[in-house]
Homo-oligomer: 480 residues x 2
């Protein structure tokens, strides 16, 4: 039976997504501010968990945080040719301030390569100042035409790393370190979302980058979602902003820079990887609340007995589990079950007078709705059991998503096969086409090259479009 | 001997402050973005420590975080009469976006009462929805004429809490809870800055508030710095934005709201409370790095012996102390000592071949520069000794600041005494004057009523300005 307020996925995936956002109370439309949303407490708590997991990894790999201005002089955007083309059409401009018209407008940062490049040109003097490894947590703004909660909003939250290196090798190593040890590691281990690591095609790379790497995930409708990008910017921004250093031989050299970011769209990826027709599903390692305890009672006498057991039982959970006791008096257990299912809490523990008699509790796994995921277990050893179960759920969610992706990925040898495959998932194929070919395919199929996977085949084959022999494989898919 | 690059406080306190900001590498001027600074990694790490301490307390008192849009329709600002007067003159306006002129400009939030009020009016329906207790970490912008790093910048970072309550009593309780249990508790315990809790005068209160409470600290030049404010907004914003709820008797009522904030100006307060002519001093509980170890050696053989001891010694520090080992090879110990003094690390541990022979290390306390703060202690039991010393330094810094404030606070009975006292610190006096009187005093002395302390005297006295009998005392001071 479909849940009230949630359109089944099979019926309308797009509407299902919007229903989950609303029913799990993740966001509200800020209809008075074009294309913006309010990140409501339940949604923002997920972002805080994402921030913590990423920030730990960003710092563990030697980076430090800083904060640069929100406003960028408009002329800065013009200094890198591809960059201005990519971002100038979608900026918001500040033209008045303090009651006066400004001589030069500012733009609200769509991304900060330019303003940070300006400061780096002041800070970097010698090879001894390198590498410079800085990250920023910030809001950014891109005036998008079509928006969608978390996936594409005018204002969004993200982290953007910006680093400076002495050599191309150092910059490339940094770009890949972030891709592997920060982004893929976090998204796969904490968010239980399997990703394909790869290189972007020329058409899809970041405006101003030499090479863009990415992690791509598959959503439940078979479409791809770019979950993070890491760019080797080459010397493009160093030349535009004059970031130079004196090397060991006292020669002035242009530096090599990188930038990399993930954003609140990861919340969208989370929803569309794991959730079901019952509501949100959050993987245990990321979940702000891992276990919710719902005490069951019909009167004050029962309430006091049950709550006493609940308090005793949960005393040793502190510091080991993130949990909530839902002791709201004005709501029925059924209402509470529904609410926590909607909000995606991995495990629900139910306990009533009969359970207390038996020394047991009922456990319900969010990832297995209905009877299948329900069991009765002894109160003795419950903490260890829950800890183990959380790990099991984490693994199960990852495995389920991986199996889904594998089931919806196929090797295609002809353009016709490609057209069919992108209707249901990822099409893996040999590719030796041009950017123009890629554009034509996009027009005809709405699919683009999501990435050139880092894992490449041993043998050569024939390009799916041109028939040319090549050793390069790519993934075509429709994307969010 | 004054330190290179730092103007002594006695010579020019204002320049000393700017020198500390630069020499401790806390911020850079963003001269290309009016009145903005870059929060450099060393400065931003202090803000991260402040965020952590405050966020813990904000959550422990039942609040959750959320995120609202950066942009506010300009018309929203006009809905509360005092509020528009206070903020409209200093906003930055977005008039173009996506290449087109906007029909209605947006302002970049100078504070978020209006936009949040708009959403609260949608979210609050019944008394069951109350209290609504939300906090936001965000950047805000006020187009200031005269700016100063951390103390007053066009863009700054802060948290702003916004809550909704059913009754005036609930709103008042919330306002004071934040003042006592979040702001004063954090600033005194973690930052070691003693504060006076009080009420703002009508002249100084937040535009649109019923009552503004604050914590006021004294800087080393005797001037006051407002370190945090907590506002009972009454029903002003509820009426302006139609935030109503249905009460238990099914009657529609206007709600009561509060707002409260502290900002990156706390970093300025930190500098001007504790630091000295040698550089920054950070209290141990807040310090991103509490202990720095400087190994001393003249050759590779000595280096390997010393580093082995350092590794062994610090192995048990992990999880107990926040520490750094400064093993940079291209710098002299003297250079390193100077750098960590400038950056305010509470304890320096020096260890060389002679110390290893003796089984000891040298310890230098940052709060007691020179010989006074230096001692030689055994390596055995060092972790406990350092832990105890950090607590001692924390307490000593608080006590020093408190003694300074007490020495620079005086009761004044006449306007002449007040004039003299505000040259050196806080003037405490009876007050029964008007807002006009306060303005006149400000013109003549540059001092204002910093607050009406919550601690009030038992007996009445005569107003310092009007001579009227009153039981109300206030603090006059010049302020940052």
């Amino acid at each position: 039976m479909p849940k009230e307020g949630i359109t089944p996925r099979a019926q309308d995936y797009s509407q299902w997504y919007l229903d989950i956002v609303q029913q799990a109370d993740l966001a509200d439309y800020a209809e008075v501010v074009k294309g913006c949303i309010v990140f409501k407490p339940t949604g923002y708590a997920i972002w805080e968990a994402i921030q913590r997991g990423l920030d730990d990894r960003i710092k563990a790999t030697g980076h430090v945080n800083a904060y640069f201005p929100l406003l960028i002089p408009k002329s800065f955007l013009m200094k890198e040719a591809e960059h201005v083309e990519g971002f100038a059409p979608e900026v918001a401009e500040v033209t008045r301030a303090g009651g006066e018209d400004l001589a030069e407008p500012y733009v609200i940062r769509p991304t900060s390569e330019t303003i940070i490049g300006y400061f780096y040109s002041k800070w970097v003097r010698s090879y001894r100042d390198l590498p410079l490894l800085i990250n920023q947590w910030a809001n950014v703004m891109r005036w998008e035409m079509r928006t969608r909660p978390f996936l594409r909003t005018t204002e969004f939250l993200w982290q953007e790393g910006h680093t400076v290196h002495a050599t191309e090798e150092d910059a490339e190593r940094e770009t890949l370190l972030i891709l592997h040890d920060v982004y893929a590691d976090f998204v796969e281990k904490e968010m239980a979302i399997p990703v394909i690591k790869g290189l972007k095609s020329e058409k899809e790379k970041f405006p101003g980058a030499l090479r863009s790497y990415c992690i791509e995930a598959m959503m439940q409708d078979g479409r791809a979602l770019q979950a993070g990008t890491s760019h080797n910017l080459g010397q493009n921004f160093a030349r535009a902003f004059n970031i130079t250093y004196t090397d060991q031989h006292n020669t002035i050299q242009y530096a090599w820079t990188t930038s990399w970011g993930v954003s609140t769209r990861l919340i969208g990826a989370l929803i569309m990887t794991h959730s079901d027709d019952e509501g949100l599903i959050i993987p245990p390692r990321l979940a702000p609340t891992q276990v919710v305890v719902v005490p069951i009672y019909r009167n004050d006498a029962e309430r006091s007995v049950v709550m006493e057991t609940v308090q005793r039982m949960t005393a040793e959970w502190k510091g080991r589990l993130r949990f909530k006791i839902d002791d709201r008096d004005n709501l029925t257990p059924g209402f509470k079950f529904n609410e926590w299912e909607l909000k995606g809490v991995p495990i629900r523990v139910e306990i009533g007078p009969k359970d207390i008699e038996k020394g047991s509790v009922a456990i319900a796994r969010r990832d297995q709705p209905g009877r299948e995921g329900k069991s009765f277990v002894p109160q003795d050893g419950l903490t260890d059991r829950l800890t183990a179960l959380l790990a099991e759920i984490q693994q199960a969610l990852y495995q389920r998503a991986l199996t889904f992706r594998e089931d919806h990925t196929a090797d295609v040898a002809t353009y016709d096969e490609l057209k069919q495959q992108v209707e249901r998932g990822f099409a893996r194929c040999y590719w030796a086409g041009t950017t123009e070919d890629e554009k034509r395919i996009q027009e005809e199929t709405r699919a683009t090259i999501r990435c050139i996977p880092l894992d490449q085949p041993q043998r050569a084959g024939r390009c799916v479009y041109t028939g040319k022999e090549t050793s390069q494989q790519v993934i075509f898919a429709r994307a969010y």
